[in-house]
Amino acid sequence: MQTMNSNRLRIIFAAASLVFTTVLSQAQEPIKIGVAMPTGGQNGEYVKRSFVAPTEFAAREINAAGGILGRQVKVTVEDTRFDGAGAVAALTKLINVDKIMAVFTAFTPLTLPQLPVAEENKVIVVAGAMEHPDLTKSRWAVRMTPTAEKAGPVIADAANKLGMKTAVILSEENEAIRISVRSFAAAFEKLGGKIVGDETFKTQDTEMRGQLTKLRAARPDAIYVIASQGRIMGLALKQISEAQLRQKHIFSNHLVEDREIKAIGGGISEGVIYTTLNIDPAFAARFKAGMGYDPDANAAKNYDATMLLFEAIKRAGTDDSTKVRDTIYSFGPYKGTVGDFKFEGSGEPIIAPILKVIKGGEFVDYKP
């Protein structure tokens, strides 16, 4: 009897310890997320600074605070190169090898081919700064920025209040930007203004003097210049100032805050009024202390997107991607570093851009 009892006890103990270690090892298994973005190539440095680093920074913060649900977060970064095939290769590698439950992506031509793969594998696609409206048609995608068509009316309204009668547009050939340009033109003309010139440049261009010569001949009150990268935005502003358009105001988007424009210097962005999102100064200070440079709007959006994902995992109580996705879609209000978002049934946040102006090299709130 006694031997049997002790045997039984031993078995029970062994079984219990097995269950315990399994539970424990599960608890210690990290939560795996991936980043699939073009970290090499033409804008690699910019992508790393404003798209990859914020996610890694957020993971570092949450891990230092004890992780989520007692588990650490593991971020794996893969280079997509700038083509659809490379984007899919990077994502499938992250899914198969690293077993991620969510992926952070950027840029329309890369993200749209990734979406079907992510949907089939039930991986949440977080495209923090992507403005293409089609993104959130997918039931697995989330963004943390207003769509492109929301910027135009805000600019048109400000231009109208400043008494601008005519405006020209100089924009990069890019899908989201074309939407912003159209929404601006429609809103501006509705308010009684007139678009007297509309020129574009390609992402890899270095010369837009011919276009500016033509825009100058139209003698506009205002110019709306819009680009998707700091480098080309800097060139545009520099050449606008060289072309001596004699416009009364320059309007633009958040890329005027990019370090490339500061690096060119010479006050080319002075007085520019632009759409952006506010960045919480406490976050900016924390980020600077951790990473050594100031976050821009895109960095803040990607940080917010990462933190939203973490909050949703916490709220769902699991890292099961379907449950986390549902939690995000019904998240309700979310207080981010770029302002108050609201998710009601999809990955499309409810948030509107604000206006800022550059005064003495500083980015300050715009007051008409």
């Binding site: 090499g40 095939a85 899919v88 590698k93 329309t108």
Partner: protein, 291 residues
């Protein structure tokens, strides 16, 4: 494993592109710098016909082949009589025009937004889904395209082509209609490239103008010469090496930031070393190419 499926599918699509480029460059000596454009034309034709016109996948694919071939014939008609360098430039210009038209003819191509939602092929009630089904579909298409090229490589047409490639005046004296031969083979190359575009559109379900530019042309040329021209095996080996070689670095590089640039550097070095030590390509025939 979607990862290996994807890589295999990409190698197969690029193998088909390479073998059709070889038809032009290797067999006929037509230095086509517009091959990526025919690839793009095929992808866009497929996307427009299936998504906007609601056509079934098979008709769309056949029409993509026809569109590629017809446009190639039309562009080949005035340009194929140009000398080598001028022909390269003419097709270089053609490819820039195609990219620009795709971006600007928004009513047809949806401009810079690209077209999404291209359907997957279906055979009877069976709808090809992602993964093995798609791999199977691409493999069958590849087998078909390689079979056609293999038949060609053992046909009398090949001898005529090589005669044209090696010396046009000799070919003429042999009674070969040089211009017609060249236009035919150029149109075929364009058609097959367009077919590859259709395959790519079915696979990615999304087309956008970025994928068919200069980078792709240079990649295709590199694949052809790494594998070796006038060789069916070479058309496999080139894409396999250039697609899989960079992927290796994902596993030995760990979490390094600058893996992308190291990849590029080694890729460049590989091209130089190959041309030095295996100029006929890894498995190409010794004769190489006359330009």
């Amino acid at each position: 494993m979607e990862y290996f499926q994807h890589l295999l599918i990409m190698v197969l699509i690029y193998a088909c592109l390479t073998v059709s480029l070889d038809l032009n460059i290797g067999h006929a000596g037509i230095l086509s710098f517009g091959h990526a454009s025919f690839y793009g034309i095929g992808a866009y034709t497929t996307a427009i016909l299936t998504v906007y016109a609601g056509l079934d996948w098979f008709s769309a694919m056949v029409l993509a082949f026809a569109t590629g071939a017809i446009i190639a014939a039309l562009i080949g008609l005035p340009t194929l009589r140009l000398g080598g360098d001028y022909f390269i430039l003419a097709l270089f210009g053609f490819s820039l025009i195609v990219t620009s038209l795709i971006i600007n003819m928004e009513w047809l191509t949806n401009g810079p937004f690209g077209i999404r939602g291209v359907p997957r092929p279906s055979i009877g009630p069976y709808q090809v889904q992602s993964g093995y089904g798609m791999l199977g579909f691409i493999a069958i298409m590849t087998a078909f395209i390689f079979f056609v090229h293999w038949r060609f490589a053992s046909s009398p047409m090949k001898a005529a082509l090589h005669a044209v490639r090696d010396d046009e005046s000799v070919a003429m004296s042999l009674g070969i209609n040089v211009v017609r031969t060249k236009i035919t083979v150029f149109a075929l190359g364009g058609g097959f490239a367009a077919l590859c575009g259709a395959m790519g559109a079915f696979y990615f379900r999304f087309v956008s103008a970025d994928s068919y530019g200069l980078q792709t042309i240079i990649l295709l040329w590199a694949m052809l010469f790494v594998g070796g021209n006038c060789s069916l095996l070479g058309a496999f080996v080139g894409p396999a090496v250039l697609m899989l070689f960079p992927e290796m670095f994902r596993f030995i590089g760990g979490q390094g930031w600058d893996i992308g640039h190291i990849q590029e550097a080694l890729y460049g070095l590989l091209l130089i070393l190959l041309m030095m030590f295996r100029p006929q390509g890894l498995v190409g025939n010794k004769v190489g190419l006359r330009t």
